[in-house]
Amino acid sequence: MSESRPVPVPDELSAPYWAAAARHELAIARCSRCGSLVIPPGQACPQCGSTDPQYAYKTMSGQGIVRSWTVIRQSFLPGFDVPFLLVDVELAEQPELRIIGRLLDGPDAPVRIGAPVTVAFERVADDVSVPAFTLAVDTA
């Protein structure tokens, strides 16, 4: 596709996330007060309420399970070929720690609730990569 996808604009809170993604690592903000992982990090920790959470980014295993999915057939954003599949993934590191990304196995991939996935990355610009997922070997 000739048009480019929207690229993230890192800010003070998110810069380590995008720097890690560029290295093809999934790093999630962790509140230094209570230790909980937070998606997305905000001005206060949603778990303990600290207004000075001093987030430190922690590299994840990249493992998770599918909680839901959708096949996007009409994109409202430029740069996406349709159809494509989005997965709502609960990361292995913490209950209800959920992130949404593309499933790179294609729109007809045999996805189901609870299917294990592994993080992958899509390069969308020079030094910019976006976390996505692929189906992992299903041992269930």
Binding site: D11, R67, T70, F76
Partner: protein, 403 residues
Amino acid sequence: MSGQFAAAGKVAIAGYAHSMIERHAARPLGALAADTARAAIADAGIGPRDIDGIVTAALFPTAGAHAAQDGVAVVTADWMAGQLAALGAEPGYVCGFQGIGQMPGAVAIAVNAIAAGAADYVLLYRALHNPPGSYHANPMRQAAGDLQWTAPAGFFGPLAMIALPYNEYLQRYGATREEMAAVLVEARKNGARLPWSYWHKRPLTAQEYLAAPMLADPVGRLDCDLPVDGVAAFILTSADRARDLPNKPVYVAGYASGRQPRRRLPLHWPLDDIMGAGTQLATDLWKHTGIGPGQVDLPQVYDGFSPFAWFWLEVLGLCPPGEAHRFVASGGIDSDDPAAIPALSSGGALGNGRMHGVPQMLESYLQLSGRAGQRQRARAAVAVACQSSPHYGGAVMYTAERT
């Protein structure tokens, strides 16, 4: 909130007006809103100078890059106050609701103002606009702020938002789009009977529903309400004042709103968030009003996206959790069956057009005031008007008699 609503039965709806709902109105939204407001004022048997409060929710619910020009794409309370000033009104209470669940939120603000004596006659309205071009398309090249967490991956806009919990529901309970067809058929059947509806005289078959294109599986085109231009206006006043006005008053028994769930990605609405907070909302409503779900003749569920109808039926306790798909498919909300629950007798958003919570509030008012004409129902003493997702939205209970 503690205990029962102190203002229960103290505030009433005294009149209303509704514009035609059109794909694109011939006149600017502001003109349509001003005319509809004047018609509502006249319907209530008062004059513009009596209006001392103006309340609306002006949200333009697009993910696109459209400008929210006042008087064109939105109509703020300040804009309306300027209009009414030309007719001699000097409203001192001019206020907008900013959250989601716009109609319940705006009603709560109006009710509180009247109960507190901050305003005697409140004009409450909702004006919705359909801009030229795609409603949600956005040419963004960069995603900053909250959107950086979702848009770069292609998760964007309300269709993807509702597709995820809708699919969670289908997978968890073995529900199907064939069952969802019953929601659409019921909404459009009732909408087809409303002269102001965009879908007037245009009912829908299950086959037509299932044949419409898919947009974000399992969301198809007809699972989404149609963007429209339209305005509704209501006049609220104290129960004591309403008694001396021409229309039979309809009283506000109480309201409840969704409790904000845990912090999530923008527009990430997991099913358990929706149902958990929604169940709490309903519990609050019953406690607040002292009236339980079994006493509600007209629970008017919201349906801006079709799965919301299932979600509201369950959180209101009208069927067991996980059963709404079967309940609706087996005729449970058929407005023509006296034994069923007429939960979409308003036509809803799917049967009117994208009027947000207006159809639910209007149906509550029309039925409880005895103004529903040929559609008038025999049992119409208590109604509940819902809007938005149960976890972000709200619900207002209305009664035909003072509580």
